[in-house]
């Protein structure tokens, strides 16, 4: 079975640019999550979808971060405009149950 895939694996952006990260969940999983991982903050939940409906929009991340799930097999995370403090690893996860989550390899974002 294919796991969660994320593209690109690495992204370098200039401050103020718009970037779009992509995620394909495990086939048949109803739940999809976007996280940001940094050494200082650890894992922070950005968005949560259940059966394509947005259930959690990450509170403090609402301003410049927007996740979408146009169909059950594809999701995007848009950051607009990017800032240097957005440099982090962005992880996508999917789950059949909500709690047992399966993660993709992540996208390492560097904002200059």
């Amino acid at each position: 079975d294919a796991g969660v895939t994320q593209t690109p694996r690495h992204e370098v952006a200039e401050k103020g640019q718009t970037i779009i990260l992509k995620c394909e969940p495990v086939s048949g999983h109803n739940d999809l999550f976007w996280y940001r991982q940094t050494k200082i903050q650890g894992l922070e939940l950005l968005s949560y979808f259940r059966s394509k409906s947005l259930m959690e929009d990450g509170g403090a991340f609402k301003d410049r971060f927007k996740a979408e799930m146009l169909n059950s097999s594809f999701s995007t995370l848009k950051i607009q405009p990017t800032e240097p403090k957005d440099s982090a690893v962005y992880l996508c996860a999917s789950s059949p149950t909500g709690d047992e989550q399966y993660f993709g390899p992540g996208t390492r974002l560097t904002v200059l």
Partner: protein, 113 residues
């Protein structure tokens, strides 16, 4: 308050030796508990999970964990570590099987040759 504490930021073990990584949780209800591993420059992988029943659960690659309600703990063990086990290990709590996972701060495992 719900929380997960991994008291050891780094653990160094010789290859072939046994391993225990500690995890304590705080939660008044029935906890669902997980251990995840993150290898360098990779995503997180589920090692094992505990929902109920036998307090000792088996995971991948020879890992096991033991749940203790009296001690509010979920320690991870392995009988004999290999150099490829070098990674960061996270203990995770799912309160009431909720999607809002509560993550420990992680323990970096270093294997000495």
């Amino acid at each position: 308050a719900q929380s997960v504490t991994q008291p050891d930021a780094r653990v160094t073990v010789s290859e072939g030796a046994s391993l225990q990584l500690r995890c304590k949780y705080s939660y008044s209800g029935t906890p669902y508990l997980f251990w995840y591993v993150q290898y360098p420059r990779q995503g997180l992988q589920l090692l094992l999970k505990y929902y109920s029943g036998d307090p000792v659960v088996q995971g991948v690659n020879g890992f096991e964990a033991e749940f203790s309600k009296s001690n509010s703990s979920f320690h991870l063990r392995k009988a004999s570590v290999h150099w490829s086990d070098s990674a960061v290990y996270f203990c995770v709590l799912s309160p009431d099987s909720n999607y809002q996972l509560i993550w420990g701060s992680g323990t970096k495992l270093i294997i000495k040759p």
